[in-house]
């Protein structure tokens, strides 16, 4: 029994030896990072990655700004956050270690929708139908916790009055 067993072990190990030659020259199995949709948020049609660095080019596709960006100073550090105004929504950024990140996106009117088609004026049931039960349901608002950000809907008489994307400061 012992010889038989040892032979089988040696045999299968020999087999394993052939595999590396074949596999290694062809390279690591090509698994592109599955884009799980939690990592992205969208303003109308344009998609952004949560936690990405924000530069002038990042905001360019969003169209013209309706007014000059306003600054948000902080107590001691010179890195100032900014509030950009666009038609239908506003974007707030903050600065950390010299890099600018998204801090908040605030929908102002129904000309812009979320990636699931919810706009200002949608009903509470439409929101729940699209996003399911909220993580944090309050009298005037529903909050959905996602990776690195919160999705917040404000209501008055069961109609969405505001939509906010709030990003966690890393």
């Amino acid at each position: 029994m012992k010889q038989h067993l040892l032979k089988s072990i040696v045999l299968c190990l020999a087999l394993c030896l052939l595999l590396p030659a074949a596999v290694s020259c062809q390279g690591e199995p090509p698994h592109e990072p599955q884009a799980n949709e939690e990592d992205y948020f969208s303003i109308g049609k344009i998609r952004f990655a949560v936690g990405q660095v924000v530069t002038e080019e990042t905001l360019a596709p969003l169209g013209a700004q309706t007014r000059e960006p306003e600054e948000a100073p902080n107590c001691a550090f010179d890195g100032k956050g900014k509030l950009y105004s666009f038609s239908g929504f506003e974007i707030e950024t903050y600065v950390k270690n010299g890099l600018t990140y998204f801090y908040g996106v605030y929908f102002l009117d129904d000309s812009i929708s979320t990636e699931k088609g919810i706009t200002i004026g949608s009903t509470k049931d439409e929101v729940i139908a699209a996003y399911g039960q909220a993580n944090d349901a309050k009298e005037g608002s529903l909050t959905y916790h996602r990776k690195g950000m919160d999705l917040v809907f404000f209501f008055r008489d069961d109609r969405v009055t505001r939509i906010h994307y709030l990003f966690t400061v890393s």
Binding site: E70, E71, A72, P73, N74, C75, A76, S141, T143, R162
Partner: protein
């Protein structure tokens, strides 16, 4: 036994030497906050004080940039000190107050309520600026424990070297000259801002889903009130005037502070609606578009607040007090000179 001592004593001596070396190295590499980011030097300036004060301010940038002790003394003879620091959290204000009340008993303590909105530790940099300035004491260690974010370690507060050792490669002149004695960076806690960058913002604050002030903040506010009561000191709550969507003071918060003040018989002044009466002009009296006042705005606010204090309390006029006159007049002259220079 003697042989053992011959080894034990030198070893103990070496360990003591090691401890002192680590402390000294810590003082060498820790940021001195003398030229840039002076906010980091505010908390330690207090230890240069030699006399007591009638009024003590505690709080964040809305006290140390909006009130000037020099003006209070010059116009009303009231001696005061601002123990403020950048984004000073409620529990830090409480522990700083507790530390000061150990050595002096003022008539009035003034606390700016903006920081009530922060219920848990916010930011390592601000924590360091506030806490590293404090002298080692039980109060400091309790303040550190209450303020630490997850990434921070208690050991790095005991030995600043553990946190700032990588500054070794970028030491500046001031790091060497100011290892032990560090000059003050403020006028009795007031950090002068002489820039002018006005602008009237018609924007409202961004709506929140929950306006209730965090329980932990109210808990430490209550502790502050009890400590003042215990020492026979009157606690006055204030909300500094600001006119900026980022530092927006929501009415719901105002209500809660009003209710708290009323239920405990405290005076609470919200200066935002009183801006006209105080004479604040948001085009000239601010250096960052309405978030904080500059020295001209602070002058107006202090004059107004001084009048309020005099009407409601009877403070002795310390301008005649020989023991402190020279020191305070020197402060007023330095303040006037620095203010005037910019005019």
């Amino acid at each position: 036994m003697k042989k053992r001592l011959k080894i034990l004593l030198p070893c103990i001596a070496i360990l003591l030497l090691l401890a002192t070396a680590l402390v000294l190295l810590g003082r060498l590499v820790e940021p001195k906050y003398l030229t840039e980011q002076k906010e980091g030097g505010l908390v330690r300036d207090y230890y240069k004080e030699t006399s007591s004060h009638d009024v003590l301010f505690v709080g964040d940038c809305e006290v140390y940039e909006n009130f000037t002790p020099a003006t209070l003394y010059r116009d009303y003879g009231i001696t005061s000190y601002i123990r403020g620091s950048a984004q000073q959290l409620v529990w830090q204000s409480y522990y700083l107050l507790e530390e000061m009340l150990k050595t002096e008993t003022p008539k009035v303590v003034v606390y700016n309520v903006l920081a009530l909105k922060y219920g848990e530790p916010q930011n390592e940099a601000y924590n360091r600026m506030t806490l590293d300035g404090m002298k080692n004491s039980l109060t400091k260690w309790r303040a550190v424990l209450a303020s630490m974010t997850d990434e921070e370690s208690f050991a790095s507060y005991v030995l600043p070297l553990l946190r700032f050792h990588d500054r070794f490669g970028q030491l500046k002149g001031e790091d060497l000259t100011a290892i032990f004695d560090r000059p003050t960076v403020s006028y009795k806690g007031y950090l002068m801002q002489t820039g002018v960058e006005g602008g009237v913002s018609d924007r409202e604050g961004i709506p929140l889903t929950d306006y209730t002030l965090p329980e932990r903040s109210m808990e430490y506010l209550e502790k502050m009130r009890l400590t003042c009561e215990e020492h026979g000191v009157e606690l006055i709550l204030i909300k500094s005037p600001t006119n900026h969507w980022k530092y927006y003071w929501y009415d719901e918060w105002d209500e809660q502070v009003k209710d708290y003040a009323a239920s405990h018989g405290l005076t609470y002044y919200n200066f935002i609606p009183l801006c006209e009466e105080i004479g604040i002009d948001w085009n000239t009296d601010t250096y960052d578009k309405g978030a904080h006042l500059n020295v001209y705005g602070a002058e107006k606010l202090t004059v107004y607040f001084g009048k309020l204090l005099q009407e409601t309390h009877n403070f002795d006029d310390r301008r005649e007090d020989e023991t402190i006159k020279t020191e305070w007049n020197a402060l007023v002259d330095a303040y006037q000179a620095a203010k005037g220079k910019e005019k």
